[in-house]
Symmetry: C2
């Protein structure tokens, strides 16, 4: 099948087999500012190149949200400025006769990690991408649980500190505003005057800087509360953590696990299972391919 990873910076189109192997891949700059028509035209060309000579069964697209997976419409993602209610699936249907599925990028990665990555073998998996933003996806019995309007997994907007910092169009004190890479970078600037964002805070923390460690510690604490809230609302068998912040996993992961355990019922503590993601950057595009397969 064809997997499409439509990002704010790059578009990637790959031919993926059912084992998640990428057989061929093509990548171009998105140039989102040139508008939907330009990007969609590009996308059609790329899909034609990649599927040349093969019989693809489906096309799956992972895109920044918010979007409507049921209607196949991209709403107005901060990462695709100027896109507003673009009926991407409808536009592609004029050119391809196979089933076409659209979902958000975190859901695509969730599906890949749940079925082929760190969540393999688990009945219910909550995937969390801990990066510039915070997103997620819930997979039950190998299938994405999208929710009634496709907003299951939008945990970045979970309120974790009422009246807290407001970030982009999210709730005040939303998880993403308190615990994301962006939040870490923001606090680094405010408290320590660093201008290199989360990465610099991580470097300083690795060198033993107390102020930097405290910033990470607070972000970890907020994310731990968010994960504990998922335990008490969904209770998935495993949490899989991916995204850019997890590249500094040695600084944050153990304390994250400890904190989550401290926020759940004592009878649950020994059962709490968190795992680092296993598929790296290919999760998004492989998952996009699997989206189509699930039809």
């Amino acid at each position: 099948m064809i997997g499409v990873d439509l990002g704010g910076t790059n578009v990637r189109v790959a031919l993926v087999d059912e084992n998640g192997t990428i057989l061929q891949e093509l990548s171009r700059k998105t140039e989102a500012s040139r508008g939907p028509d330009f990007v969609i035209g590009n996308l059609i060309e790329m899909i034609n190149v990649v599927q040349e000579g093969t019989d693809v069964a489906s096309i799956g697209i992972g895109s920044p949200g918010p979007l409507d997976p049921y209607a196949g419409v991209i709403l107005s993602p901060p990462n695709l400025p100027g896109w507003d209610r673009v009926p991407l699936v409808g536009r592609l249907r004029e050119h391809f006769s196979v089933p076409i599925v659209l979902d958000n990028d975190a859901n695509a990665a969730a599906l890949a990690e749940a079925t082929l990555g760190a969540g393999q073998g688990h009945k219910s998996v909550y995937y969390i991408t801990w990066s510039t933003g915070i997103g997620g996806g819930l997979v039950i019995d190998g299938k994405l649980f999208q929710g009634a309007q496709g907003y299951a997994g939008e945990i970045g907007n979970m309120i974790i500190q009422p009246g807290g910092f407001q970030h982009s169009n999210l709730n005040a004190g939303a998880l993403e505003a308190m615990a994301s890479g962006t939040a870490i970078g923001r606090e680094g600037k405010v408290r320590l005057g660093v201008t290199g964002g989360a990465e610099e805070v991580f470097r300083m923390a690795a060198d033993g800087h107390d102020g930097a460690r405290k910033i990470l510690d607070e972000a970890v604490d907020y994310l731990a509360m968010g994960i504990a809230n998922l335990v008490h609302t969904v209770n998935p068998e495993v949490f899989v953590l991916g995204g850019g912040v997890m590249q500094s996993q040695e600084l944050v992961f153990d304390s994250l696990c400890d904190r989550v355990r401290s926020y759940v019922y004592p009878s649950l503590r020994e059962h709490i299972l968190l795992k680092p993601a296993a598929l790296g950057t290919k999760a998004g595009i492989v998952g996009a391919g699997l989206l189509g397969l699930s039809q």
Copy 2:
């Protein structure tokens, strides 16, 4: 089938048909303080009386949590003092040969409301009991989603105000500590000196007392944030609200709906659906009966 509602005050045993009609019902005081052996002995007697002359297919039991629905063990519920890891299902199996299922009382009510009550016809239902405590249950495609250890729906322990009030063995600032009937009664006492609990605060609010209205308003706001968090993590098609606080629904329900909408993505607002529970006090025992049916 047989439905058992094992409460801290009363035990009820009923013969229930598949339409949720209660054909016969027997009720006794629980006398939990006399210990598990006494209560279980009583329960066996009651089941024998109610099933007399009929061919029951299953026994379902709704009990206060925490409990392990997979092992059929009641852990150590605040409402059944002195009960500690009681293998209720195992004990009953010595006397009855039909399938026996145990789950918490909120899950039982959730199943009844989702399949026969206000959630009927909806693909995914999050039932919330807003009462002395706050609990819930998630039903997907007519089946309870219990989670890996049976803690899906334990939303009373969701952290909604980090460092907030700590109540019983819950997290500091847990939803139940901030928005339950107990929380309303506590604030009434602290701020207004009333000793009649939540009921008195509701009466005062109905009479237009500003301080009492403010207390309700704050509880409504916290619950709205909790529900918005469920929208962004599970996104169920409908929320069904039951429990004692909902008996004063004219004071809280409309503002609850408005607040929830204010805390979700703008693109979701028109889709948010909250409904008052429809089955009243029989939800628990009918749902207990359905628990057995689901085996």
